[in-house]
Point group: C2
Chain length 316, copies 2
């Protein structure tokens, strides 16, 4: 994308507001980019954003998140939601990452659902900073529920809290999974837990382990995260899951939790935009501090790079 | 850590050079921190760094990386290496993350080995930027082989290339694992592949799948990544793994690959230090652009935050 004109941004904003799929796609591409015009578009859309219910779906690759999402879609639509899906998961069939299997059939479950994959951008990794602005585009286009599918261990899964109102963590009944999740510190981030592939051995046991793990520090005072057994492939347990997702939304809205959480989301969004701009600088700072030959000398042990970094930091 | 004096840095540097375990520990804590004095310490140690062979061990939680590391240690020591271990994996027993099981016994395998866990720092996540400076501390202390244990999907596993000379990816023979890894784009990052828990069904098949996957684009021209079957728990296959790790080192040293890769490492290291400093700014920039009440108004839909961001970006 080169020179983005004000006319183009105007047209895009209009198309998004009309819910035109092509405009939405281009708008998300723009807000995902580092084009200065992305802020112009977001400024134009802002008044129509901030209202969607954001459901984060996370879990290890192979846990069945995409199948679960696929099963959730018709049920969410039946409740009157206009649904968008943002897949940050590179292994998701929604994100076009399917190489061998897992192809999602295009059928009525997907009808009217806007699906989009986002790159998990940045050399340092982490949750895609494109998520909050992409959510705003979908909100401006009239979507009022956005499913955000993310994958990963540790940080990636933790970050999903900062973009979603309700986080669903999907596990599979395999030995050690709960233990591993606990060790990685990701067990406490979810609002609703799913033990998928519940026909497999150990599912009931896993639910018990999980319940014990969650209540290690005593019964929670506020929301007590439910644990749902599902067989996503056959749609089993998915109705119950939808119930709990709705319940968590209502719980938050009735308490102060909704606002507190959403304030954190705003903060994360602003911070990630600033961070992103600063990150762009890192490359050019390094280039200006260390030429190619200087970097080679650093490697050869003949140019100590730290004094230059110190000076740069001090002079900043 | 508060006011770090030049005397303290001097003492630390001296202790590190003498290989004192307590000094090494404190030095790593310092270089992991954002204390300005960390650069002073690194400047002091620089002349004695850059020589260690860095082996990255990556793979999903539960693949057996820590057991494998534990088995590698005596074999690497037998080859004359002084070995350090940096565990960025929050699920590693080495990093003290073990809650229920997986406790590593302290015995002769660990004797003389410096083991340290590093936080995967930063609100945006990713590989710990503390790795390159921690490696330098270990190098200055006389360690000439550093095992870097990392976990995670996607980006985390990709980043390990930028800190390790040889990357070992550990997989387990479970259905779909190769497929999942391929989809996540992490299959091509390794220099040596391990199919651990090779007594399980499907191990041989997995090796075949993996071989096919790796040669999808034709036989590689340079290094052809070997695939080793191991049963880490019983030490089976670990001798062979050590052979391949050494072989990869020699291969790189005989070709230009060693230097090219290490130049990338230097670049990543410098960039991550600059990035880290800039990241610290993000928080204060947001605070100065948006007060707490301004952020609340953003949430309430009555303060459009994008013009302020645009102005900040333009004014930078």
């Amino acid at each position: 994308m080169t020179a983005v004109t004000t006319e183009f941004v105007d047209e895009l904003a209009r198309g998004v507001r009309l819910g035109e799929v092509r405009a939405i796609a281009r708008a998300i591409t723009l807000v995902e980019s580092r084009e200065p015009a992305r802020l112009e578009l977001l400024a134009r859309l802002y008044a129509h954003t901030g209202k969607a219910f954001k459901v984060g779906l996370t879990g290890a690759p192979g846990a069945g998140k995409s199948t679960l999402t696929y099963q959730l879609l018709p049920r969410l639509k039946a409740r009157g939601y206009r649904v968008g899906v943002l897949a940050v998961d590179p292994t998701s069939p929604f994100s076009g990452g399917a190489i061998l299997g897992d192809r999602i059939r295009f059928d009525e479950a997907l009808e009217g659902v806007y699906i989009r994959s986002l790159a998990s951008r940045g050399s340092i990794g982490g949750l895609s900073r494109g998520v909050p602005p992409a959510v705003r585009v979908l909100e401006a286009a009239g979507y009022d529920l956005v499913v955000i599918e993310t994958v990963g261990a540790g940080q990636l899964q933790v970050d999903v809290r900062f973009v979603a109102d309700t986080v669903v963590l999907t596990l599979v009944p395999e030995a050690g999974d709960v233990v591993q999740a606990m060790k990685a510190g990701i067990i406490e981030i979810a609002d609703v837990y799913v033990v998928n592939k519940a026909d497999r051995e150990g599912a009931t046991r896993m639910r018990l382990d999980l319940r014990n793990a969650l209540e290690l520090g005593g019964k929670p005072k506020g929301w007590n995260p439910p644990i749902v057994l599902t067989e996503a492939l056959y749609g089993k347990g998915v109705d119950e899951l939808v119930e709990f997702i709705e319940e968590h939304k209502q719980y938050q809205q009735q308490t102060g939790a909704w606002r507190t959480r959403r304030l954190q989301q705003v903060e994360w969004e602003l911070q990630s935009m600033v961070h992103d701009a600063l990150e762009q600088q890192a490359h050019s700072v390094v280039q200006s501090l260390f030429s190619e030959s200087a970097r080679a000398r650093v490697l050869d042990g003949v140019e100590n790079p730290y004094p230059a970094l110190q000076a740069w930091l001090a002079g900043e």
